[in-house]
Symmetry: C2
Subunit: 232 residues, 2 copies
Amino acid sequence: MNGRKKAVILLSGGLDSSTALAVARSEDYGIYAMSFRYGQRHSVEIESARRIATAMAVEKHLFVDFDLRTIGGSALTSELEVPKQRTVDEIDGGVPVTYVPARNTIFLSFALAWAEVLGAQDIFLGVNALDYSGYPDCRPEYIEAFERMANLATRAGVEGYMRLKIHTPLIAMTKCEIIKTGLQLGVDYSLTHSCYDPGADGLACGLCDSCLLRLKGFAEAGAPDPLSYATR
Amino acid sequence: MNGRKKAVILLSGGLDSSTALAVARSEDYGIYAMSFRYGQRHSVEIESARRIATAMAVEKHLFVDFDLRTIGGSALTSELEVPKQRTVDEIDGGVPVTYVPARNTIFLSFALAWAEVLGAQDIFLGVNALDYSGYPDCRPEYIEAFERMANLATRAGVEGYMRLKIHTPLIAMTKCEIIKTGLQLGVDYSLTHSCYDPGADGLACGLCDSCLLRLKGFAEAGAPDPLSYATR
């Protein structure tokens, strides 16, 4: 690790963040993975993040705990029903109820703190502006604005000895391209998890936006999805 | 409260945030105060926030818990020694060890989430660019960059039905002006707390940057500081 560049990676254990981690690793960064227990409905996500971090041999994996349920406003942190469809074409263009208010901003803020303490100039984030389910905080203009703010926020930025860069290697990729990239880089997608509403048995529902986009991606990539689904 | 505008206020229980709260209240906002237990060394701050919120009759006071000690990098969340001086002139211009990496960015991110859920367009923050102890995330250019980012981050911003504004009513005031403003608005400064390093008895040290700036402010305002100090 001596002298090697460090990168902080936001790792949910999903398909996108796991692929972003593999991209950072392929660019020879030492990987500092950060995951969040924020009151999300299912803990499958946490377990996936742990498995991926171990499989990818990260330098350190830090969990940060807080409870967004006290703030509310999302199907992912409440008993609101997660919408189900039969095909990707039924996903409408609006911001869905699975949107968690300011989630990426909160996550990136913690990543910024850790990056400053580590002396890391690079944060990787697996957001994706194409097959992205309509979240405002996954768009390039948002990421650019966060990066600009971040460089005014820190001691490192003010004293000018560090310039923080937020990398979004997947932002312009389709889900199919993301999967092909990950397979090339050796990502074991059987360790990842994408479903917004898994069953008590941990099985992906196969019907939420996130499952549908994942299934479509694997189909287009001509690769089998190693996950089992409750409804397929 | 029906129809009244709502404001989210970051409340540390210190002199500045308590005064910012009083300013928001004087502008007839319904007040939603947000405080953080982030692993700070002393709990005096939490008690002050609670007392001020009660005295000022806020609509709601929300505590958010997380632990910045796992991230580190600050005297306020570690055993690093807090610097002590005899006079304000000895405070040097650099970023001090009491700086907590990305703290205001983390706090404002949670405030952004709560504002969106409440339908509040206004966040108040008691930062101050004059007598401010050298923190990068208290400067006007930082606040402007955060506001710009925030309006790209949320459903409210993207769908265009809400424009978030971050109010920093104290940003261009001296500590003396802040105190005069607060006294006019009826702030009970005996309930507030400023010290970075209080004793086990809860008494302010009177020697850290924050105590020195407060004492100078009261002296210049020609008002007695109602707090007791260990060393004065």
